[in-house]
Symmetry: C2
DNA sequence: CAGTGGTCTAGACCACTTA
DNA sequence: AAGTGGTCTAGACCACTGA
């Protein structure tokens, strides 16, 4: 394995994490190619002055991420690229970052409104209490791609937050309120006349829909998102693994 | 924590796995409620005569599955049910089992055909070489729900396989050829006239589409699936976690 | 047979939380 | 101050693979 790993024992970053991060980087930029054999646990442990369980924890993290494949008696290999591609997108962080980073996003509405029954139930607050309501349109060039509605508890985002430059989730991260887990429901529907007008399609055109419930580390609901995507311009990729 | 765990030290099943499975069962059938505190690692280790790392491995597996939440200085808790519901469906096994188990599935076609360019590329075989082609219709009562097309390498499934009683994936498991990872792409489209006729909707009606590429443990492609679902009857739930 | 990863033990020190 | 999970070590035995 022709990759060197630099461990900083003075760093607060765990050793196993330093190792897994650097291996992941090597896999992603091609220094480790699909099918390449990784050094054995014993070799790595000796080479970097670590114990075997520490090396093992680094390897196991990459196996869980789907980047490495290990078999007893065989060794550890980088998985084939067709399997690997976009396997990382099951991470909430990547998913949210991407949904902010896309081409251009216009804020149509950012207001404080009374929670209706559905919003109140999802956010676990009392019906009629105030929530922030955000309505955005994502475009690529002149083409509208997605119509996104979001509702958030009032203490999660301030009314004068800058949601334009960095995006919603980037803003939440700066306030330390970033989502930890999320449930998504993906479906399809025919465009209503409102959606058709905003997304510049004909009424009844197929739309891809996504509803997201996001939660912080304590399990408290912090976001309800209801998004509609043009079917001809958008798809979701997910990856499944046997556990 | 009012749950007892029975460990069989003579079993080939790892101790950490016995423990995590029984805790998962307790969480899923309600014996452990959302928010319930789990015994600490030290308590569990002492109670069952295990070392702390072994207990820890069991806990960590359930954290990775999204069933438990741990915080330093706080302890380990069962996650809130709203977060937890269907979090397990990110497992390939559950997903494939469910797609077999659904109400009634009719095999429309099961044949050996020549691979076209797209099938050949996905399955990494030579264009024109034989592949098994499977066409199924899933119904609930009289209602058609999904139109499913699958292509598989000839050595993965024999031409006289029984795909009716157990389903495709159950059959693959019996032959030891079960999928290990899969990539799914979920989108939407308007029904073609063929799809409209099979699914009993009008032409142009919104359909939810799913394309799956499945791989075995070695990373070899073993299935291409192209499915179309009635949008009014079907949705995908996915769950994301910060890692 | 030698080498691999899979499991398990018995410790240790630390950062963080609550009280 | 006491208790929690997070990290790390230095061993051990085993099942599986390939030559």
């Amino acid at each position: 394995m022709n990759v060197d790993i630099a461990l900083d024992r003075g760093s607060p970053v765990p050793l196993y994490f330093q190792m897994s991060q650097q291996l992941q980087a090597a896999i992603e930029d091609g220094r480790l190619a699909p099918g390449d054999q990784i050094d054995t646990e014993m070799v790595l442990a000796e080479k970097y002055g670590l114990s075997r369980p520490t090396v093992r924890q680094a390897m196991q993290d990459l196996v869980n991420k789907g980047l490495l494949m290990r078999r007893r008696g065989i060794g550890t290999q980088v998985v084939h690229s067709q399997v690997r591609r976009q396997l990382g997108l099951t991470s909430l962080y990547d998913d949210l970052r991407d949904s902010d980073r896309r081409p251009s996003t216009t804020v149509l509405t950012f207001d404080t409104v009374a929670a209706d029954e559905r919003v109140a139930e999802v956010l676990q607050i009392v019906e009629g209490s105030p929530v922030r309501y955000l309505e955005r349109l994502r475009c690529e060039g002149d083409e509208p791609l997605a119509y996104m509605q979001n509702w958030l508890p009032v203490d999660i985002v301030s009314p004068d937050a800058d949601l334009v430059s960095g995006g919603l989730y980037a803003h939440l991260r700066t306030t330390g309120q970033s989502p930890h887990t999320a449930k998504q429901r993906i479906g399809a529907k025919a465009a209503t006349s409102v959606e058709a007008r905003v997304l510049d399609v004909r009424r009844g055109a197929p739309l891809l829909t996504m509803e997201r419930h996001a939660f912080d580390v304590t399990g408290r609901p912090i976001e309800l998102g209801v998004h509609a995507y043009r079917a001809d311009a958008y798809a979701f990729e997910t990856n499944l693994m046997e556990r």
